[in-house]
Symmetry: C2
Subunit: 423 residues, 2 copies
């Protein structure tokens, strides 16, 4: 092959654009499966509706010339061959399961964007050096079965297949049974190597919108430490008990809520601290609370910083317990270390966006995504696009077609940079 | 009647002591009606069990020579005649209804102490100038029917008989129906004047025990202002939402909890501030709370101070709403003005205790009691005795026989000072 032909193929590739209307239509078609009256989607992992969504994806992928395989945890891989089938695949994907009151874009966008990349390459007749794969990861949301990010977690060896298959939902159905029921229990076998993994996703936060940028170039996923906290004071009557003799569990818990905020505020720009859940006992108007249960969620981009935050939380708990004459028990329940993405893939995303003339912004992923597990076993990166008001996990979740199209074009360009163009 | 005889009657009166063992036995006998496995009592107002408790009181009062009358809201009055039946009665009493998981002493002590005073006078053959009455007030607790302190409230004109009779429990039964069902719907008619009202009660707080005193000389009942507060922020993901862009309703609510405490701490010794109830929405570990509902309970001995506390609460709410970018709505739901007790009756309690050589302490009543309503229509005072760990409204509520006896002796002496001894 002459240098002229190669140059021409590269030039063709850089001019390639996805079909934004087709991408949008695919998202809308998929969103009809499990559509809710308020405009959202309820398609819980491994339900019959999830099965229908999977079937639709498989039909579309096969119509686009892909070969489809399913692994033992139900992950689906649609493969478009490369010129060199010996090279590891350049993969993209996400999930199509949703929260009970979920939206049309969370996860679904990453899968439909991958499918659109394949369709676009097909129309252009463009062959990549490495094969391209579009993955649909099983049970990212964790609404019906835990752990969350189950399919990508098994794929990356974060936990075993056996552990995942044995999990049961509230009705007692196991993952293994649910997979078999919808026909997505694939054969066992080791996962083939992945050359690179890209995931396009709505931001699920307000930063791109606040800064009026179209493309988030995701540097890393925040590390997370979650805790269950119990504050034990002494229940007493609000009237007859003087302030000095109280052991008010809610007053102490409120101090801890403020400290969690301070601990995160002191570590900008990526420190996060949240008390999302708090319950008061006996929760009666004129009784001083005797006990409070609360959750703490700390996140940081750097593991040493996350460790500092952990120490600061424990210190604050001990100080408040002393000051308020209560007992505070802090129990760690989840630890995800921070996960940096692969610099060369992050650059591919940035260059792709730059070549397209799109405004970008460096971001971190505050939430967990399948890409975070994939990053343990392959070079990985993510592309964020804005969502309306940063709202997600909500039926009113929304995103603009031109943003989704832009993100898909960046995905296409970044994947072509990784996979290589065969001419 | 010669001066010698008078002096001798007064001397006899001052030497008179109640029978502590009999008082304790009466309390234990009454506590068998509605006894709970954990040693408490569940005898909700106007239930069949309340009817049995009332019947027992009436039998005991009649056996002690009293005439018994019942008014239209079911208050029971057991009367021991005085030498001068034209004088207004010197009254004591309390209630025998309990909380669902109540104790043996709250309310019951005041009624049994009154009965013991009558029995003691009978044994001594001592005639008072003014008649003595022992009152059992209907539905002080308010657990089944609101408003609380219903019987004494109607008696004192705090609300109308019609309003009280029309109230319904969770099953739809009205107060009027419940009174009729247990045979305690008395005739209508205006309440006779009360010369003086004393109420003996367990403290329901920890102050006497902390100071190792036996008798609380109650100066006043705290005024109360109760509020319902709603904090409206913006629900968002804990991971992707940077600290600076949050509108965290729980963080704002925690600030308010701390302020309620500061507002009360700044007004010693009687200022009280309590958030007893707090609920978070959606109350999910990794979602920034969008909304919090909480109660605020402010108390003070002085109405101007209570007004200052009200203003400080509203100011704190407005400031926190601004700082945290949330909306805070503060809705007043209850207002009781502070109620001073009658100085001459408070002195009678103090002198009675001093004559008996008992340690005393000036206290305020932080909780509501029937005496607080009675104080609107008659000179009134209260006598507090310690309860174990200050715990009340609890099946483990406990009090020491010698403290109950001491309080009853003070009640006897204070009532004799008010009623006069006829010789």
């Amino acid at each position: 092959m002459s240098k002229v032909v190669e140059a021409s193929a590269a030039a063709q590739a850089s001019r390639l654009r996805v079909d934004g209307a087709r991408l949008w239509q695919s998202l809308m078609d998929l969103a009809r499966i499990g559509a809710t009256p308020k405009g959202g989607v309820c398609r819980l992992a491994l339900t019959e509706l999830d099965g229908q969504g999977r079937d639709l994806f498989v039909r579309w992928a096969e119509a686009a010339g892909c070969t489809v395989r399913v692994d033992a945890i139900g992950n689906i891989f649609a493969r478009r061959p490369g010129r060199r089938e010996d090279l590891p695949a350049v993969m993209t994907g996400s999930h199509i399961d949703t929260q009970p009151t979920g939206g049309k874009f969370d996860g679904n966008y990453g899968v439909m964007a991958g499918l659109e990349v394949v369709r676009c390459l097909n129309e252009a007749g463009l062959v990549t050096e490495a094969p391209i794969e579009v993955a649909v990861w099983t049970n990212e949301e964790g609404s019906r079965f835990v752990p969350v990010m189950m399919g990508s977690g098994v794929f990356a060896g974060a936990f075993t297949l056996e552990h995942a298959l044995a999990q049961r939902d509230a009705q007692g159905t196991s993952v293994a049974e649910a997979l078999a029921a919808i026909g997505y229990a694939g054969p066992r076998g080791s996962a083939p190597p992945v050359g690179a993994y890209f995931e396009a996703h709505i931001e699920q936060g307000p930063v791109l919108e606040a800064h009026e940028r179209v493309i988030g170039v995701v540097q890393a996923a925040l590390g997370q430490r979650w805790y269950d906290v119990v504050v034990q004071g002494m229940e007493a009557h609000a009237g007859p008990t003087p302030m000095a003799l109280r052991r008010d569990a809610l007053l102490a818990a409120s101090g801890l809520v403020a400290e969690v905020n301070r601990i995160a505020q002191a570590r900008p720009p990526h420190g996060r601290g949240t008390v999302g859940s708090l319950e008061v006992f006996p929760n009666s108007r004129n009784v001083i609370p005797g006990r409070v249960r609360l959750s703490v969620d700390l996140r940081a981009a750097d593991d040493a910083q996350l460790g500092e935050m952990d120490a600061a939380l424990r210190e604050a708990g001990a100080r408040i317990a002393r000051e308020r004459n209560v007992a505070i028990a802090i129990e760690p329940v989840v630890y995800f270390p921070p996960q940096p993405f692969a610099p060369e893939l992050v650059e591919a995303v940035r260059e792709g966006a730059a070549a397209l003339g799109l405004s970008t912004m460096d971001l971190v992923s505050g939430a967990g995504h399948d890409a975070v597990y994939l990053a343990r076993v392959a070079p990985a990166a993510m592309i964020f696009v804005p969502c309306a008001d940063g709202i997600s996990h909500n039926e009113i979740e929304d995103a603009r077609p031109e943003h989704l199209e832009a993100g898909c074009n960046v995905l296409l360009q970044a994947m072509l940079r990784s996979a290589g163009v065969a001419a």
